[in-house]
Subunit: 274 residues, 2 copies
């Protein structure tokens, strides 16, 4: 079975930590990683602080993911300091990158409002040594790719439209090139049962089907009558569809069996919906 | 000036990392921390993996926040392993906590559907040594408080209604008891200017007003005419309202001044709206 490549995301921005902005970028990326069989191991949200970014990137690289994505902090202003933090963590110099400068220049020359390549605009083309700029079709700050042995480090802007455009253009091809096993997932809603009453049957099913992954989420009130448990069953092996079906059948049988010895589970077992 | 107490959040759940569920819990908490003058330094989202949780908690405690909040993984099933991970990180045993057991018991005795205190229900009352359960008024798994010298560690369920109920009942009083300085924030929209054209004036303003914190977010297209920059100006000193107003007046003056020497900024400067 092919191994699933691993990913970490570092999302930078005080606005995410003061409760001003909800980090929807990581969620959007997570869906796409899953679709191409890559495994997101960790998301870290950090302040606009050089030390915080340096420490976060160092910690992440120490866990040796195949891909590390940073989000935010690539813009022209002083508070955009992600690449400075990355360069510190990698002990690399920051240099004006000619390819990146050409991208920024092309962008501004298209603007009637251009006031030339100020140092603030040149900042967006100042990248860690050996970095490669990734074209930004809808904004000015290019994305950045740095190859570091096992890990590829990709830095994307925090503005969602720009992040998505660079991700679609430059990151999706990377995901496709080393496509992992997209996990197989079956999800069922169990109506009229509370999570702790489901637990014994679920535990037996888990033991009977090693290699499958079960995750239950209570959706109704534990104290109420209209309880609902959402159960997800996953396998990283896409050839295990029959095994997943068998596991769910086994679980439902276990729930019904205990119904004969327990009035409560009987009531709920009857209502089980697949 | 009073120092702002620091916080980290660790949010546990594969569903957050596969793109199934958006982590709105951390955002909800972040707003409240800011309101009471506590500073959220970092959010870490982790898999349902004992090692990942142990490593995440160890890393977080190493940064010595005043408060570490874990979210998720307190339920009755096998995949709920946050307290096992916390206990490993703290090198503490897991013990059946009599106070927690009384809370769980009271909850289930209220249920018609009760099938007794199964080991799955006892699991929710099995806490790290020296932990204190926090009442859960709307669900079964109690929250958990562990005092560790400088850091208080609070574990809350991932179900939003339960997380919020315990947070309101048990965590808000902690925030109030050591209330920090809520930062002062002024936010203005600058219409018709792109972020990189704003940068020089913003840079001069930043230098003229040390102690204030400026963060700009592009809202319009850099290449378009209807550009908009949202500018937030913060101070952790709530007595600095006049200073904030002066800084904004200074910035607007700087923008208008450059309008005389630059056609572009002139066009945009005129449209500045406070």
């Amino acid at each position: 079975m092919k191994k699933s490549p691993t990913v970490e995301i570092i999302s930078v921005g005080n606005e995410l930590l003061i409760g001003h902005t909800l980090d929807t970028n990581s969620h959007w990326i997570a869906k796409r990683l899953t679709r191409f069989g890559w495994t997101l191991q960790r998301i870290t949200v950090l302040r606009d602080s050089l030390n915080a970014i340096k420490d976060g990137v160092t910690g992440s690289l120490g866990r040796k993911p195949d891909l590390l994505i940073t989000l935010g902090g690539l813009g022209p202003t002083h508070d955009d300091m992600t690449l400075r933090g990355v360069a510190l963590a990698l002990k690399k110099r920051l240099l004006l990158n000619p390819d990146a400068l050409a991208m920024v220049k092309a962008r501004y020359s298209a603007l009637e409002a251009s006031t030339g390549l100020t140092r603030f605009r040149r900042k967006m083309a100042t990248l860690p040594e050996d970095a490669q700029p990734l074209p930004n079709p809808v904004g000015t700050a290019p994305g950045v790719l740095i190859r570091l042995g096992k890990t590829s480090l990709v830095s994307l802007p925090g503005v969602p439209s720009e992040m998505k455009a660079i991700f679609n253009g430059s990151v999706i091809p990377m995901l496709k090139a080393a496509r992992g096993q997209a996990p197989l997932e079956v999800s069922i809603g169990l109506v009229g049962i509370i999570e702790s009453a489901l637990a014994p049957a679920l535990d037996r099913t888990r033991k009977a089907f090693p290699g499958l992954y079960f995750k239950s989420h209570p959706r109704g009130r534990e104290g109420g009558i209209r309880s609902l448990v959402q159960l997800h069953v996953y396998s990283v092996d896409p050839g295990s569809r029959a095994k997943l079906d068998n596991a769910i059948a086994y679980l439902l049988r276990e729930l019904l069996r205990s119904a004969y010895s327990d009035r409560t589970v009987k009531e709920t077992g009857k209502k089980v919906l697949a």
